[in-house]
Symmetry: C2
Subunit: 951 residues, 2 copies
């Protein structure tokens, strides 16, 4: 009974995926593909597996694929149900398909003249890379190897193929310990060491000659016989059935079972088995192998692009021993020109495929067109020409640069190949980054690379290209830039808020310490500066104004170039040019109509804006940043960090006066000086944003960040402030903190020094009143940082409301305003229900929430976080991409509890993560209202939000 | 209909609480008490309110209470239901009760010879302190004031009483703005400034003479007339009804409504009104007033204890203008002897109540006995003798020292007054602390206080008394103690692990910086050392080996004394003596049978151990600490901090060698030296704990804590290690962290340097194997610190299991072991379900969980946390008492999710909070299996766990 019911079940199961296919394919055991026609197709992954369906699809698209056939996943299922026996009738069907295959290829298994070799590969519905078995070169034996030698005139290749096959087949199909073969190989290499004059350990596989390999094949066969008590099987069909059995068996090996458990892959029938003819590009001058792209993957230009080698195997193209030739004549000529090769030499030594095999080239061109049309995307293809027969081995959507991505997407819409939504989905948000940054002149950069001028690599913390003279201090950088109009690169062990003016003026910033969210990196991103952070190889000597890097000494005033895309630090000058988009959008120095790139960018961003649901704001502290943000499409300011306003010349003096004051009266006196400046700051921002929402965060950093740290600076300050150096040092020591991240900052300052927050609130409201009086609308949002406890918020909100009502009463203006809070302390996330009863909005400060939630200091974690990412403890740096499982869970908990208490609670995120595409998509998923990020990341966030909405 | 049904409801509502009382009390509107009998009793809080029920209860207990009556809460309910009209028949009942009251007191309202004054007070079922209104001295008028003058011969008192009554009555009952009276009072004071030769602002209320006050009464009456358009009411009954109305009205004032909302007080009928005769102890030589305790509140001795003053008001006893006299003759004589007062002088100037009023004394004695028997607890009583009539004004359970608490509890069980459970509930866990610490000789301490030798106050971080010579560095302290057998007090700006030997050898530790969980405080508690931390007044000058404190200069070698109970730093020597319990329990220097205190302690602890459900373990790193912990009743070790084992002489060398090693091989070489030492450590612990569970935490602190910080120490280390100073400094700089709390420590060390954890695991298992081989049982628990991500635990657990299985295989011993984790990173708490899939136990590290959860660094929070506690943002320092709302919620979330995945998950807590009684009770509530705390806090934790179980 049980068996019967199970059988019925199986039939049902199996019939389901088949519904889409024709009735005649029901119960078909083996599916053939080849000669331009396949019995299956791309939608049949259930029974053909991913690879089998892909091969069928490619065949059906009209290109020549090495023929083959696929044993269905149902066969695997039956195999296990039958106690690891092949289902009845399978052998017959396989035999029939072998015959078809031999006919299609014009070759025969085991033939002594024209032997067919095949690959036997697994392929389940879901990709399980590396988990199951593969056998190549099946069909080779003592006679076939001789035939191969004859055909290829390459005995080394033939013997090496045989050797590899014996090892692979014995290990995978016959369970012979593969180490036995590896030992034999090692021994063979040691044996020739003296002969070729190398140390034993230095001998490579490629040092073995055809004769050596022939001898090794003998040894391998002996090993096999010793292990199995029988000769190595010479009959290709015997080989084939053993290989099929092995692939079916590998479905339930430990690795595969573990993989399916880990990735929760369930309900599959088993693996399919793909038997496909092997083709060789090294069968003489009528054979070749190559790779090509349907469009240029660097520029996106719709030109056929690729390389090939005559009489070569696939790995030869990659290995770089021979110089690959270009496929099209045009590309070949361009290449020769760029490399200073005369046309005659080119034609003789490096002719194009178009010239050498014009018919095959034409065919390849038509394949390219067919495949791109079929897959509706730029294709990256591998092909082999075997004795004038062109075979496409693989095609996939091609990887491309940002420039190519946006151009392809735009062009393909114009070509009516894809629609707008698809175009948006084709550009990765990160790729936009590239389009916005200054770039190196490609030739100049290549020259630098080729001449060994790359000094070191650091973290690519701010993309773009920068070139300038090195300065090791902000004042000297500023002086050089202002007085001598020099382009400067600021190099620091690490940066602090005191360096900010130097950072503004520098082309690029290079630091020895700090991670992706270090001060340098964060500010650089906000300013749109090129930045390489945490470049450990720098040995900076401030005293002598120089640094040594891997043996080179760079003095103040020497040129270096920073590639913020790659993290490369390059000695000397490399020519840069600004992004066309920036020229058109921000600098207004380029007529947008004249820029193709801008046109493409605008097209994609417009489409993305139509698609996205999530709001995108910017983090901006100054009107110019706000104006950039608007140009980039920001819908408001999500975070104005008021502390950045405190560093200007006169301001820092007043701030320091306030910090050094001994009592409330003294602080208030200093704050009174800051008040008009802050009013001006906020008025400027409000004006620029013209009615869009502006969220202003009250003072956040600990006060010691505003005091100098160096002796000489302390002395200067002492004179300026008329306060003794001792007193200053005492105050600095008093304010010192062991763990400043967990110290006296944020709303804690507001609790202990209410007058600071009061001044800021007064300034915000007075600025808003000015705007309102001028007839424009404004709803300022006041954000209180680092709240951990509802009572902090209550106290500070009460205090703010009192100040606000007083200002409004005095001014006689009516004004809406909101008071909300950052959610950046884990305790706040845990008690979000309490906090939502007071807060009118939440903004997740995910930098701090990550620091405290994960217990990582962003300033220190560089010491171990790379190892954490390397060991896959975190998939990505949690300061760059939000840790969704941990910090994300905390956010979800807070959202759920906050909205339970206040259903219309507006929730945003304003940490550095707000500009990270993965995080933006997560924010969309968990129901945030908006993300806020630095202006230069706004386009990325918009695009990521569109991608999230498309999912 | 609606009105009717509501009426029925009310009857039902009201009848409910009345069920317990006799049928005749049904619907009774007013309840009388006086003359030794009350119509109500203590269980009638529903209708008499808390105060009314208490007065009835006290009256019924047989003591004389100033007579009075209570208008029920039902009257208040009816008052509101009747649109703020008094219920019908109430006036009649009040009149009848006034008559009773006048008879009981032998005085009459408004009488010109013997006037009765009354107080009118609110009193709901639930205490709502300060929310509702009270009027005192009601009944006073122009005629009565004259009578009072005559009776008391104290015109100032009489006029002041009148003045106060007018103000209070006008404000509370008649809604006259009280500021008007306050202005008049201020003016009156300013007017006499010249006359008495004071600045206006310095004139006090007490500077006003009877004549001034009489004049002020005139002004007050004029203010009243101005405000109300009528004369101030002279009729006492008019006054009374206005007062009753005001008290009823105050039930629904904003403050009271807010209070009930805030504390979720629901379902009450309203407030009762208590009208009670006022009595005066200042009516001549036959009057007096005093306070007394039924037993000695300092020692618990069953001796009557109290003070009084003839012809005085209650506030005079407290004011300290006159020296209060003792109540009993015995106490009076003892007091005189202690203060060097001759018997003749004592008798003349400070006679006891027993001598002055023997009959009244006898009565007071009998009242004392009655009340203690009635309330079954030591009573703190207030009494007034008015013209030879003794009245008890208040009795409540008396506050007492730890010594008194335990003695009373013990004695009362022996006296059969209370049972064991009650006895356990009578001793507060914190009080045990006092019993275990060395104490100052009381007389000597008082002498020090009286002679102004208290230099400053700090945080009472480690209770007890310590006296010794000041040393400002650990090495000098050690030298002085070891070479010269000096008792030393170690004074540091702050302590670090390098000071640990000095801390061990010191009597007491005093620091200028740091809070309750600073290194100094934590280690001091663990070592049982007296400690005063964060004493900001210290100005320590290491270079000159001295400190200045509020103008005093203390040099190295000078004596100071530390009162760790109070935080007082005292100049010079104060005699100390060790706790008897310690002598008996730990030092074994005292025969337990000879110590009454020990007997009491043992009795209470045995009872507590029977009651509690929660396990109590200790944090201990050394066998001697473990042995102390056992003596204190610990049931295992919940936290062995292995880093403390790394600081011994040879060990720190090997540790430093490991840190300075450039590669794995170098580290392994150094670790090999540590291995045998660690095996010895763990073997010792296991032996001492004899089968009880021992949880060992792998290395937790960042490596830089093991390196020296001072130049001279670096130079020493350089010579010792044969490493250049530059190299050392480079390493130290390399290891420096901006936020070490969030840095490279805990399991992060295990991830980057697996060999360190491997060595420790090997040592633990080898030690356990030795124990097992010797025939004893052992299940070591290996705890991995600072886990934030399941993958950290997976990697480190896999690595540990590999080491363990290897050791076990080699030894041939079978052993159970557990691998668990600290939950101290918020992320771990948030992903406890994932982590529980790997962890066999959880231990909450609430120090770090508080630091990261609340975002407070325990080393820095001293700068703002006191203000936070002062502003009631946190009720208590969250590093001392767990923040239940925030951090506690995180714990509950983790427990819930952890046990969902692993239902039998053992969960404990091993932060400093494990010894805090409130936290222990919370841990009981949320279902922890055990708490773990420093050995000296184990008894507190046991008692707190018992209290939790009793609740």
């Amino acid at each position: 009974m049980a068996a019967k019911s199970q059988k019925t079940k199986n039939v049902k199961k199996a019939s389901k995926p088949l519904k889409k296919t024709a009735a005649k394919t029901k119960y078909q055991k083996v599916y053939f593909f080849g000669n331009g026609k396949a019995e299956g197709h791309g939608a049949m992954k259930d029974i053909l597996g991913g690879k089998g369906a892909g091969l069928a699809e490619m065949t059906n698209s009209g290109v020549a694929v090495p023929a083959g056939f696929t044993l269905t996943t149902e066969m695997c299922d039956q195999f296990y149900k039958n106690n690891r026996q092949f289902p009845a009738g399978l052998a017959k069907d396989v035999d029939a398909n072998i015959a078809k295959l031999e006919k299609a290829m014009g070759m025969k298994l085991g033939d002594e003249k024209n032997p067919l070799l095949v690959s036997v590969r697994s392929g389940a519905k879901e990709s399980m890379p590396g988990m199951m078995d593969t056998i190549l070169n099946l069909g080779i034996n003592d006679k076939v190897v001789a035939a191969l030698i004859k055909k290829t005139n390459n005995p080394r290749f033939a013997w090496d193929s045989y050797r590899r096959f014996i090892q692979m087949f014995s290990d995978v199909a016959m369970d012979v310990d593969k180490h036995l073969f590896e030992h034999a190989l090692t021994e063979a290499k040691h044996n020739i060491a003296d002969k070729i004059g190398k140390e034993k350990k230095d001998v490579k596989d490629t040092d073995l000659t055809a004769a050596d390999l022939e001898k090794l094949v003998g040894t391998y066969k002996a090993i096999y016989k010793q292990a199995k008590g029988a000769d190595f099987p010479q009959d290709p069909k015997t080989q084939l059935w053993a290989a099929i059995k092995a692939v079916f068996g590998s479905w339930n090996n430990d690795r595969a079972i573990f993989y399916r458990q880990k990735y929760n892959i369930k309900g599959l029938l088993g693996t399919a088995v793909n038997v496909q003819a092997m083709v060789f590009g090294n069968m003489g001058e009528t054979s070749a192998t190559g790779v090509c792209f349907s469009r240029n993957p660097a520029t996106g230009e719709n030109k056929f692009y690729g390389e090939f080698l005559i009489n070569a195997q696939g790995e030869d193209v990659v290995a770089g021993i021979r110089t690959p030739q270009k496929i099209s004549l045009e590309a070949s000529r361009e290449w020769a020109a760029a490399n200073g090769i005369a046309e005659s030499e080119r034609k003789a030594k490096f002719p194009s495929l178009e010239e050498v095999m014009p018919a095959t080239y034409k065919k390849l061109l038509s394949y390219k067109n067919m495949l791109e049309k079929h897959y509706k995307d730029m294709q990256d293809m591998e092909f082999t020409i075997q004795e004038n027969n062109l075979y496409m081995l693989q095609t996939r959507n091609g990887k491309r640069t940002g420039f190519a991505a946006i151009r392809c997407a735009y062009d393909m819409v114009k070509e009516k190949l894809i629609d707008e939504k698809t175009a948006v989905s084709r550009v990765l948000p990160e790729q936009l980054n590239e389009l916005l940054r200054p770039i190196f002149d490609r030739t100049d950069k290549e020259a630098a690379l080729n001449s060994g001028r790359v000094l070191a690599r650091g973290l690519n913390a701010g993309p773009g290209a920068a070139c300038g003279k090195v300065y090791f201090s902000a004042p000297e950088a500023i002086a050089a830039a202002q007085n001598n109009k020099e382009k400067v690169v600021l190099v620091r062990i690490e940066t602090t808020p005191e360096d900010i003016k130097g950072m503004v003026i520098a082309e690029g910033i290079l630091t020895a310490l700090g991670g992706a969210t270090s001060h340098a990196a964060v500010v650089a991103r906000q300013l749109g500066r090129v930045c390489i952070a945490g470049c450990g190889a720098l040995n900076i000597d401030y005293a002598n104004k120089l640094m040594t890097v891997n043996g080179h000494t760079i003095k103040q005033g020497d040129y270096i170039s920073l590639d913020g895309f790659t993290g490369e630090v390059i000695l000397g000058q490399v020519k840069t040019k600004p992004s066309e988009i920036l020229q058109a959008l921000i600098e207004k120095s380029l007529d947008p109509k004249k820029s193709g790139l801008y046109r493409q960018y605008k097209f994609i961003m417009d489409a993305a804006n139509k698609i996205k649901k999530l709001g995108v704001r910017a983090n901006a502290d100054q009107p110019d940043q706000a104006s950039d943000a608007l140009a980039f499409g920001a819908e408001g300011i999500g975070l104005c960090r008021t502390e950045h306003m405190f560093f200007g010349g006169d301001r820092i003096k007043a701030v320091r006066e306030m910090i050094l004051a001994e009592d409330v009266a003294g602080r208030q006196k200093a704050l009174a000086k800051l008040l008009p400046m802050q009013i001006e700051d906020f008025t400027g921002l409000f004006k620029t944003m013209n009615g869009l929402p502006v969220t202003i965060r009250l003072l956040d950093p600990p006060l010691h960040e505003f005091l100098p740290t160096k002796e000489v600076e302390v002395e200067e300050l002492s004179q300026e402030m008329q306060v003794s150096v001792d007193q200053l040092n005492f105050k600095i020591k008093q304010l010192h903190e062991f763990n400043p991240m967990l110290g006296h900052r944020g709303c804690r300052l507001g609790i202990t020094y209410p007058e600071i927050f009061d001044m800021q609130v007064e300034a915000i409201i007075k600025a808003a009143v000015q705007i309102k009086k001028s007839g424009r609308d404004i709803t300022p949002e006041i954000m209180i940082p680092l709240v951990g406890h509802i009572k902090e918020l209550q106290i500070l909100k009460d205090s703010a409301v009192a100040v606000i009502e007083k200002v409004l009463q005095e001014s006689g203006v009516k004004l809406k305003y909101k008071i909300g809070t950052m959610i950046e302390v884990p305790r706040a996330a845990m008690t979000a229900d309490e906090i939502a009863s007071e807060a009118e909005f939440f903004s997740f400060g995910t930098n701090d929430l990550t620091q405290m939630g994960c217990g990582f200091s962003r300033d220190d974690s560089g010491k171990f976080l790379p190892e954490y990412v390397a060991k896959a403890i975190y998939d990505k740096d949690p300061f760059q991409t939000l840790d969704q499982t941990g910090v994300g869970r905390m956010m979800q908990y807070a959202i759920e509890n906050g909205r339970r208490v206040r259903p219309d609670l507006k929730i945003g995120i304003c940490g550095e993560h707000g500009g990270d595409p993965d995080t933006v998509q997560f924010c969309h998923k968990i129901g945030l209202n908006y993300v806020s990020c630095s202006p230069y990341r706004v386009p990325l966030a918009i695009l990521a939000a569109a991608h999230a909405a498309l999912k």
